[in-house]
Subunit: 203 residues, 2 copies
């Protein structure tokens, strides 16, 4: 049995950097955008389109015309979103079966919730910290940064809540939630310790 | 500057045992019911009454008659609840100033939120785990145990949400949230590590 760590995160909290560094520290595979690329290959849909879908709650409003069906366009788009989620779900399961890994985002904690070797993590940080970090990392203007971050969080929450029927950011849905406010080094060190001594799937 | 760890927890998750063992492992003072006793001494109210108040959201329905006021009884009871909370708040602040300590419950994380040496923790566990544990620890009948636990959680949430204006159990209000499903030893070890390497209040 493998060891699988999933990471959900608030936008700007550094969850992706943390995930990458944790995977490196533990010698595990790391997935985030790679999953999207893989899905794109499998479904022949463009990566850009898939990113659009997975970043938002799939409401049937995407500008897709589906020629081979008599269903109304609205239903077809909705079904397409569902299909992408299902494809993504299968891919995440494949990846988790294949090797020890860290998977960032994509409802992976929910998809893999039955695995006894799962350590699911949620990373968050205070708004001021995220604004500061987002300005450095994304080189965006400070104006409206708070609005931008709140919108991103809202999208993630909507996507997660829609497909998981859990509540994004509720401590009780993750094994371990931690603030990155005290620095990436501190969090990586705690998560590494948590993963190495993790008793899940031991028997 | 001291080091202060606060622990919020779901009923039956083992948060209090964890807190006690963590304090022991770190050589820190430990407070939970002691705070209540101390408050009782200060305010000359019975400990039993105070426990009733702090376990529930203070709605103005408690059977208290206040002879020295012309306010309606409802307002008086409400003010009394507020007074107890304020007294408790001051005591928590005193205790945190006095020495390194672990404080379980009582909105301590919110009361001490401005301290830079604070590590606030939330302990939770799946319902099945808590039912099993509660049956062993409290020797209660299994019948209606789930209802009993949900009611207890509801009371804690109401009390916390009322006085803190935060949302009980939301990962984003705590530095670290962790499930006790993998055992007390595992969680104590992770929290000990987190406390010993904690960079808060370092400069």
């Amino acid at each position: 049995m493998n060891r699988v760590i999933t990471i959900g995160r608030e936008f700007g909290s550094g969850g992706r950097e943390l995930g990458r560094r944790l995977a490196e520290a533990l010698g595990m595979a790391y997935y985030d955008r790679e999953i999207m690329t893989e899905i794109a290959k499998r479904t022949s849909l463009s990566e850009r389109y898939i990113n659009q879908v997975v970043e938002r709650r799939p409401v049937p409003l995407l500008p897709i015309t589906v020629g081979h069906t008599f269903s109304p366009v609205l239903d077809a788009a909705f079904e397409q979103n569902q299909a992408i989620y299902q494809e993504q779900r299968r891919l995440i399961q494949d990846l988790a079966d294949r090797s020890d890994c860290v998977i960032v985002g994509r409802c992976a904690d929910y998809v893999l919730r039955e695995r006894r070797d799962l350590l699911s993590v949620f990373i968050h940080a205070p708004m001021e910290f995220r604004i500061q970090r987002a300005r450095e990392v994304y080189e965006k203007d400070a104006a409206n940064m708070e609005d931008f971050l709140r919108k991103k969080d809202k999208q993630r929450a909507a996507f997660y809540n829609y497909f998981s029927q859990n509540k994004w950011g509720d401590a009780r849905h993750y094994h371990l939630s931690i603030s990155s406010v005290y620095g990436v080094d501190y969090v990586v060190s705690i998560l590494k310790d948590a993963a190495l001594t993790f008793p899940g799937g031991a028997d």
